[in-house]
């Protein structure tokens, strides 16, 4: 069974999540990948205002394909999250509550998730066509000059994700494979 969550995420909702839980996200989420993260953190370091309020928000690591005429968005699956690791703790410290990507996070990020009460979700890598069907609206809200790396506001309906890292130190990428590892590897 999947549970349904609506963004922005509350601390109460986050504390109920456990590694391995399936979640259907609803509401608004924001896209950001390498270049947008670099820019957001530069603004933070220079004490400048961010183009969006991170409080309770969820960021999706995605660079979609361009929409065809009449489409909301093109193919839109997750990119590798590890590339955002150097920036993430600075964002969770400002109230970011969720991230969606694929692949493992650094120790520093996992510690930041426990400290700042935020979760890391995975969407299925390579399922960009399927995931695009769960995005009902998209508009650029910042960094338009970055093209596929611009920050979009996405409205999602039953967007399927799995909890990888919860606020209790759980990690699906460690616990999942451990169950199936055989000695001959």
């Amino acid at each position: 069974m999947s549970r349904t969550l609506v963004t922005p995420l509350t601390e109460e909702a986050i504390s109920a999540l456990r590694t391995g839980d399936r979640v259907l996200l609803n509401g608004v989420i924001y896209t950001a990948r390498d270049a947008a993260h670099k820019r957001l953190v530069e603004l933070i370091e220079h004490g400048q205002e961010l183009p969006l309020d991170l409080q309770g928000q969820v960021v999706y690591y995605v660079g979609p394909t361009p929409p065809k005429p009449g489409q909301v968005i093109g193919s839109a699956g997750p990119t590798t999250s590890g590339r955002m690791d150097p920036y993430t703790p600075k964002l969770t410290a400002l109230g970011l509550k969720g991230m969606i990507g694929k692949g493992p996070r650094s120790q520093a990020v996992k510690e930041a998730l426990c400290r700042d009460k935020a979760v890391y979700f995975a969407a299925t890598g390579g399922a960009g066509a399927l995931l695009s069907q769960r995005i009902v609206a998209a508009r650029v809200v910042a960094c338009e000059d970055l093209g596929p790396e611009a920050i979009y506001e996405l409205r999602v309906k039953d967007f399927p994700v799995v909890v990888v890292n919860d606020i209790y130190g759980g990690d699906l990428y460690v616990e999942g494979p451990m169950k199936y590892r055989c000695s001959e590897s």
């Binding site: 391995g20 399936r22 270049a35 995605v62 660079g63 979609p64 394909t65 361009p66 929409p67 065809k68 093109g74 193919s75 839109a76 699956g77 990119t79 590798t80 590890g82 694929k102 692949g103 493992p104 995975a122 299925t124 890598g125 390579g126 399922a127 960009g128 066509a129 399927l130 695009s132 069907q133 093209g147 596929p148 399927p160 799995v162 699906l172 990428y173 616990e175 999942g176 494979p177 451990m178 169950k179 199936y180 590892r181 055989c182 000695s183 001959e184 590897s185």
Partner: protein, 282 residues
């Protein structure tokens, strides 16, 4: 007899093959995923495999890219030595094909110039990485491989010493897959190049990805090596999407070449579960 082929034909083929490769999952991959759903013990893994089959159906139905990372276009051209290419610069013709395919096909432009500098997007996904080989005959084989960043980033090459031998080579391949974990989007195709030189090994590892999933290596010695690597990779427990499971690789393909008496190059090129490549013979 010399056969004339206009490079404009190659442009058109590169454009259509790029779009086709990005939107239509190969029959061999789909057949694998359907079998894998029956075989995978992990519930989380099975759910991922079911999603991937559904994703392929949606992509085909809506003519949408399977994945938003429509890759850097790697193009293989096998040109018969009895072919005379006319009508312009071959390399420019290939790049024009990439341009048309990626712009006209609404694929993502994922190429940046000046990798250490401003990393500005080239805007049309050019340049392609082009591998041209002259072969006997009067045909031209055009193959397009949209190669995504996630799997490419986890690929690796080692210059082993001959004493490390077969065991060392197997160890390096398995370790590369283990370290890659969830990042390259398993279940993977693992391309392995053994021998040759530094760049030849890498070339073979990538070229190996073109084989059909489930096909056996014609050399029994290599077929056995592929089976051993596959068994050991699957024993890692990484599973579909890295959520844990029995199925971590779809297939392992090895190419080998003679090498220097002092060398044992081993290259591993990882490919995601979409295993995109399409080809046409002119």
């Amino acid at each position: 007899m010399i056969r004339e082929v206009h490079v404009g034909q190659i442009t058109e083929l590169v454009a259509s093959l790029a779009v086709e490769a990005c939107t239509q999952l190969g029959d061999d991959v789909l057949a694998f995923l359907e079998r894998a759903v029956e075989q995978e013990e992990s519930l989380a893994g099975r759910r991922v495999l079911v999603e991937l089959i559904e994703n392929a159906n949606i992509a085909r139905e809506h003519n949408l890219p399977l994945c938003q990372d429509t890759g850097l276009a790697v193009v293989y051209l096998e040109v018969g030595q009895d072919v005379h290419l006319v009508g312009g610069d071959l390399e420019e013709a290939v790049n024009e094909g990439v341009r048309r395919g990626y712009v006209g096909g609404y694929l993502r432009k994922s190429v940046v110039a000046d990798p250490l500098g401003a990393r500005c997007n080239t805007g049309d996904n050019t340049p392609a990485v082009l591998h041209t080989r002259i072969v006997p005959g009067d045909r031209v084989r055009v193959t397009v491989v949209p190669k995504g960043g996630g799997a490419e980033n986890m690929s690796a090459l080692a210059m082993l010493i001959p004493a490390q031998g077969r065991a060392g080579a197997v160890e390096f391949v398995v370790e590369t897959v283990r370290r890659a974990g969830a990042n390259p989007c398993p279940p993977l195709v693992v391309g392995v190049g053994i021998g040759g030189t530094f760049e030849k090994a890498a070339y073979m590892a990538k070229h190996a990805l073109l084989r059909e999933i489930g096909s056996a290596n014609p050399k029994p010695r290599l077929a056995e090596l592929e089976e051993e690597i596959e068994r050991r990779c699957n024993a890692l427990g990484i599973g579909p999407a890295g959520f844990g499971g029995r199925i971590t690789v779809m297939d392992v393909f090895v190419e080998e070449a003679p090498c220097h008496i002092a060398s044992l190059p081993v290259a591993v090129n990882l490919q995601c579960h979409a295993a995109r490549h399409k080809e046409v013979v002119l």
